[in-house]
Amino acid sequence: MVGLITDWLKQPEKLAQELEQQKADEIPAWLQEKRQSALQKIQTMKAPSRRLESWRYTDVNRLIKDLDSFQSTEHHEKINATEKKDSVVIVIDESGYTGIGECPDWLTIQTFNNMSPGDWHEFDFDSESVVSLANDLLVQTGGLISIKKTSQPINIHIVYAFDEIDDWKYIRNQFKLAHGAEVNIIEQHQTGRINVINVYDLADHVVLNRSHDIRLNSSEQFISFNLFEIPENVTVTNMNQHIGGSLQHHTHAINFNKTGSKYTSGSINKSFDNNHITDIVNVNHSFKNNQSDVTHRSIAKDQSQIFNNAKALVAVGADQSEIEQDLKNVLLSPDAKIFSKPELEVYADEVVAAHGSTIGALDETALFYLRSRGINIDQARDIMIESFEQEAWVC
């Protein structure tokens, strides 16, 4: 079904050329095999469309559109991460992982060429996640980032900074954290049209604080699939800020594979202009006695759209699971749209679960309260938005 590729990935000739080129670039044989099977699989699938739940509220045509066709009025200050002092900064650009200099002894980075095939995380992407299957097919940059336990928590800054900004860049970051490691990872976008797969392969007793800070101008796009494999006594805090962009599409999959762990996530999604943002969190409570706490705060302005969802699946026997899903949404204009529905699928008996979702405008009474003290309406709205977001600030 080559038609699919013509439609949304790229021209078939271009794709063939690219795969040839990658061979010439001495891509290891095992990875070429993975690509071949991804190619076979993707040919059996339909292109992303509004019939898929995760693409229902996104204009899929934007995947192939020229970026300069998107009008921008909002500009977001991007943080210059390369100036961070107390962090190891990994810049991802055309030359791969750069900017690291000499690796500290707690950090090992192996690119595809020198990582072992056994470390490659196998996904079983379905049609909902076909854009990430495309990543399996076309991944250019990435590798295995292994982090040992240290006496002090360590900070890693990942920055996407490509010179060429029109073509999709396919990246895979596989983080492997050793027993007891305490790590803060910040992931930021500077430039580039990004499709990334992040794998967080955690050992017991890991403490991971992860911040996903994706601020895009109205012509930029970013797709991510983020997998967290969580064993025993692990604490993960995942703070997401998704601001702007002609297209942002984020999927978070959390697998509890043992017991006694906690996953907390906060997402702040803000859209303007004609932005489309999708933010999906799927938590699998396959084992007993784990806790997940998912908070989303989404704010849509102008003609923008946000789809945000949290889903928890609690397997048979996964008793003492605690699940909280709290999704709140604010529409700042009559043309903006937000869709949000928390979902709980529980097959265990003893589970504590709470979920809720609201959608509305900013609270008029509170706005009036602020204005009655002399604060003008724009500033009062900003303060209300700040107030609305604060429960999603998990770290």
Partner: protein, 246 residues
Amino acid sequence: MLKIENVFANAGDKEILKGLSLEVKPGEVHAIMGPNGAGKSTLGNLLAGMPYVQPQGGSVQYMGKDLLSLEPEERAAIGVFLAFQYPVEIPGVNNMYFLRTALNAQRKYRGEDAMDSAQFLRMVKQKIKDMNMRDDLLKRPVNVGFSGGEKKRNEVFQMGVLEPKLAILDETDSGLDIDALKIVADGVNQLRSADRSFIIITHYQRLLDYIEPDFVHVLADGKIVKSGDKNLALELEEQGYGWLNN
């Protein structure tokens, strides 16, 4: 200072104020009493500019200005303050930040310089002391987790910081024990001056034991039906509002 003439106003789609008139001169304290649902809060909300309350007729002059044509924030900047009957909680917004933002917004509107945080802190600490309040109030988010009494005291504290010319207190005494009531009354009495006026909406005569009003009015069915001096409050306390139905 304030001249309300034959005002009609709706709350939502309900007609609430029906030809209300009231004049308040500088330095005066007016108490407004009346049965539930009479329109007392609607009057306060109308003066402060709540969008839900829509004027339908009549006029309100405040210091030579057409008050009803101004935005709520403009009214605040020229000295109108409403202590809410139900103060609003604003999670995640620190009381101190909120008050400084408000004060500086008002000062800017009036063409005055902004207060920096050190100046502001000094001023606010002094006010807290003068008004016998606890200073942990400042660090907490606006009204979040406050008891009913703390919320009311916070309103009076805001009034103390913002130093309005016309303060409207909407049942600030409701739900207060006697000590809290005294704190609130002290806050008002400290602010009383020849150029500052108060409209005190209350259900009970007891607040007026501590804040002596110049006039007492009865508001019923959207208008002032009776006015007198502080003795009227005592009469009302004894008789209730049953006589209104005759």
